[in-house]
């Protein structure tokens, strides 16, 4: 097959590209330039859009011996990922930008362009398994598993995707990179949001949404217990950084229960008030078989690297409802609910949807 390897400049995508070559594919490497002004990311930046990353990707492509190009996806990235990220926070939700980038950029804008240019598939260094059966499964390395942020992909997108790293642990990927002479073998993992170079999400949002002071309200008494400089900066389940003026009457810690953008209010309460047993979500995608008519017994994951709980999942038109077998704390609107079917050969992604509440 003629395949396009998306190369971030990190070790995973470099090994993925090399493995695609070894598998006999005709591989072309592409680095996605996502920053509108990469020069500003010159030093100290982490993530996927710095000059250094672009050079690392090119160097890896040269070692692997494949053609390499840079594709300018900055405008699309800013509209579909960065602006979306800000808008979601402004609406009181908690977005996952990596998931959005997969959905809108890597497996949409890039894949579409690749197909138009005559490529059959896109290869990435995601840690997930996608075998001949077309089912998306968790990586063997559960600590690095990225099936959660890929669960948003449709059947058509998965059919044109190759994830060569699903059978490897991260340590094995690094060892293989070293064996293959790839200089990125020891490059540190990227953890933070790539377009927030200093890791200060709150500062990033404040710069775009401005500071709008408002009240922190106790859910049980309705009393104002503190103030904040912008409700968008809070996430459901958050405990730190609340700066409450007075302790709760029961003396127990308070958590963010909800964010109401309309009134710019952050509502806090005790931990148990965070417990959620019913999860409602929209825009479901179902790839682990035919779309079910009846409720499905499965497991669900409600945030990246979050706990997995047994649940009954039902689809109804554009809605998904998950009834959790035991309550989960800190379910945030904007995150994805991903349904898995436990499987000894790697838990299978059944489908996903965006949590509304």
């Amino acid at each position: 097959m003629r395949v396009l390897a998306a190369m971030s400049g990190g070790v995973d995508s470099a090994v993925a590209a090399a493995r695609a070559v070894a598998a006999g594919h005709d591989v072309t490497g592409v680095h996605l330039a996502l920053a509108r002004n990469p020069q500003t990311y010159r030093t100290g930046a982490r993530g996927c859009c710095t000059l250094e990353d672009s050079r690392d990707a090119r160097r890896a492509a040269d070692v692997i011996g494949i053609p390499f190009y840079v594709w300018d996806m900055a405008d699309r990235f800013h509209e579909d990922v960065v602006d979306d990220f800000v808008a979601e926070y402004a609406a009181g939700r908690t977005p996952n930008p990596c998931l959005r980038c997969n959905e809108k950029i890597k497996f949409a804008a890039v894949l579409d362009r690749a197909v138009a240019l005559g490529f059959d598939a896109v290869v990435t260094g995601h840690h997930a398994r996608l075998g001949a059966d077309g089912l998306l499964r968790r990586s063997v390395d559960l600590a690095k598993d990225q099936s959660y942020v890929l669960a948003v992909l449709t059947r058509e997108q998965l059919d044109r995707s190759i994830f060569p790293l699903g059978d490897l642990t991260k340590a094995e990927v690094r060892a293989e990179a070293a064996e293959r002479g790839l200089a990125v073998a020891d490059k540190p993992d990227s953890h933070d949001i790539c377009f927030i170079a200093d890791g200060d999400t709150r500062g990033f949002l404040a710069g775009r949404l401005g500071e709008t002071p408002g009240d922190v309200v106790d859910a049980s008494t309705g009393a104002v217990v503190g103030s904040h400089s912008g409700a968008y900066a809070y996430t459901v389940g958050q405990r730190r950084g609340l700066h409450l003026d007075r302790p709760a009457p029961d003396g127990r810690p308070r958590y963010v229960l909800s964010i109401t953008p309309k009134t710019n209010t952050v509502t806090v309460g005790p931990a148990e008030a965070l417990d959620v047993s019913d999860v409602h979500a929209v825009r479901p995608v179902w790839t682990g078989g035919a779309r079910p008519d009846a409720p499905v017994e499965c497991e669900v994951q409600l945030r990246a690297h979050g706990e997995v709980v047994p649940a009954t999942v039902a689809l109804d038109g554009d809605r998904l409802h998950a009834e959790l077998r035991r309550p989960v704390r800190g379910v945030a609107a904007g995150q994805a609910v991903v349904a898995y079917r436990p499987d000894p050969a790697g838990d299978v992604v059944l489908g996903s949807a965006t949590i509304t509440g």
């Binding site: 072309t28 000059l51 090119r58 053609p67 840079v70 900055a74 804008a109 579409d112 240019l117 005559g118």
Partner: protein
């Protein structure tokens, strides 16, 4: 590298010697350097003392633009204007920009016409208005992207009328079109090795004796005190061989390559009728064919043709490798989309009819695909 140049390089590199030393091996090295200087001067119509060896084209351009600016401003502080065409290579463009940003230079950017040609009347008008303030004028001999050859002798004559030194970046021109330093009347001329079959990292600035230039590099005082640094004897010898070979073979080479190029243009036009041929149709580098492919992105076409073994070029890229719309095309009046849809095919010594056949065979399908890919793009 040309075989002759490579052999000269290896033979010289085996000999040790610093051309600045007084002992026997130094003398031998110096002799090689001076013979090379005479060789370059002879084929380019310069006097040996006008040849300053440098580390290549970028250095020569920087030395000419900054060095002459500094020296002439030092002599008269109100002389701080630089005049440059809008279609220069970045080695000139960015040096001029730097003078504007860091040295308080004023810049007169001269527009070009739709084929990328700088009209001598445009320069005349600029100098009529500002001659007293102008430290240096720079305009390339031939454009590296669209291939347009400038009326250098006419431009140099206009500058001379006003007593302003005229520099030309002739990197693309030497070996491709006739270049004579003395006859052209320019004050400074950039030439570099790797564009004409010589080594990378060796070039020269031809600089008339009466033109002052402040050095970029200070040190041992080599090269008329204008360019310090131990001379790269082997590189210089190979460079001189390459210059001589290229200049002596220029006519025959140009005739052969221009015929191939004209065939390429004709057949590309047949294969893709809506193509726009850019640059001056007659005053142009023999090996240059430059097109805009409406509805395509140049970098998509490049990828598709590269996969078929056909090498071509888009404009330049920023430091992260993102394709930028060419400033040359924009200066010629192209809009952003047309600038981004452009592609250059360069023919050279090794080009054959078969290369053109392969290009013409691959092009229609590539254009088709590139169009489909471009249709997906979000409108800017």
């Amino acid at each position: 590298m040309l075989d002759e140049a490579l052999e000269a390089y290896v033979a010289t590199a085996r000999e040790v010697g610093n051309a600045s030393s007084l002992h026997a091996s130094g003398r031998r090295a110096r002799r090689r350097v001076e013979e090379s200087r005479e060789q370059v001067a002879a084929v380019l119509g310069a006097r040996p003392s006008e040849v300053i060896f440098t580390g290549g084209g970028t250095e020569s351009d920087n030395l000419a633009v900054k060095g002459v600016f500094w020296a002439r401003r030092a002599a008269r502080p109100d002389r701080r204007r630089v005049v440059s065409s809008a279609v220069e290579h970045h080695a000139v463009l960015d040096a001029v920009d730097w003078l504007a940003q860091q040295e308080g230079a004023e810049v007169g950017w001269l527009p070009v016409d739709a084929v990328g040609r700088l009209d001598p009347q445009t320069l005349r008008a600029e100098l009529a208005a500002h001659a007293d303030q102008v430290a240096v004028v720079t305009a390339m001999w031939a454009n590296n992207e669209v291939g347009t050859v400038q009326p250098v002798a006419e431009l140099a004559a206009v500058a001379a009328e006003h007593g302003v030194p005229f520099h030309t970046d002739a990197i693309q021109a030497v070996g491709q079109v006739p270049v004579d330093f003395g006859a052209s009347g320019v004050a400074a001329l950039t030439v570099t090795g790797h564009k004409l079959g010589g080594p990378t990292g060796v070039g020269a600035l031809l600089l008339a004796r009466d033109v002052p230039a402040t050095p970029l590099l200070h040190g041992g005082g080599q090269e008329r005190d204008i360019r310090s640094g131990t001379l790269d004897t082997a590189g210089i010898v190979a460079f001189a061989v390459a210059v001589e070979t290229a200049v002596k073979g220029q006519q025959e080479y140009a005739a052969r390559v221009a015929a191939l190029r004209d065939d390429l243009i004709e057949r590309v036009r047949q294969a893709v009728p809506e193509v726009i041929y850019n640059g001056d149709p007659t005053d142009r580098l023999p090996g240059n064919a430059h097109f805009s492919f409406p509805g395509c992105e140049g970098d998509a076409l490049l990828l598709l043709l590269d996969a078929q073994g056909i090498a071509c070029s888009t404009g330049s890229a920023c430091s992260a490798g993102v394709a930028q719309p060419s400033h040359v095309l924009l200066a010629m009046g192209a809009d952003d989309d047309r600038a981004r849809s452009s592609l250059r095919f360069t023919l050279g010594h090794t080009s054959t009819q078969a290369d053109i056949d392969a290009l013409v065979a691959a092009l229609p399908a590539a254009v088709d695909r590139a169009r489909r890919a471009a249709a997906l793009r979000t409108p800017r």
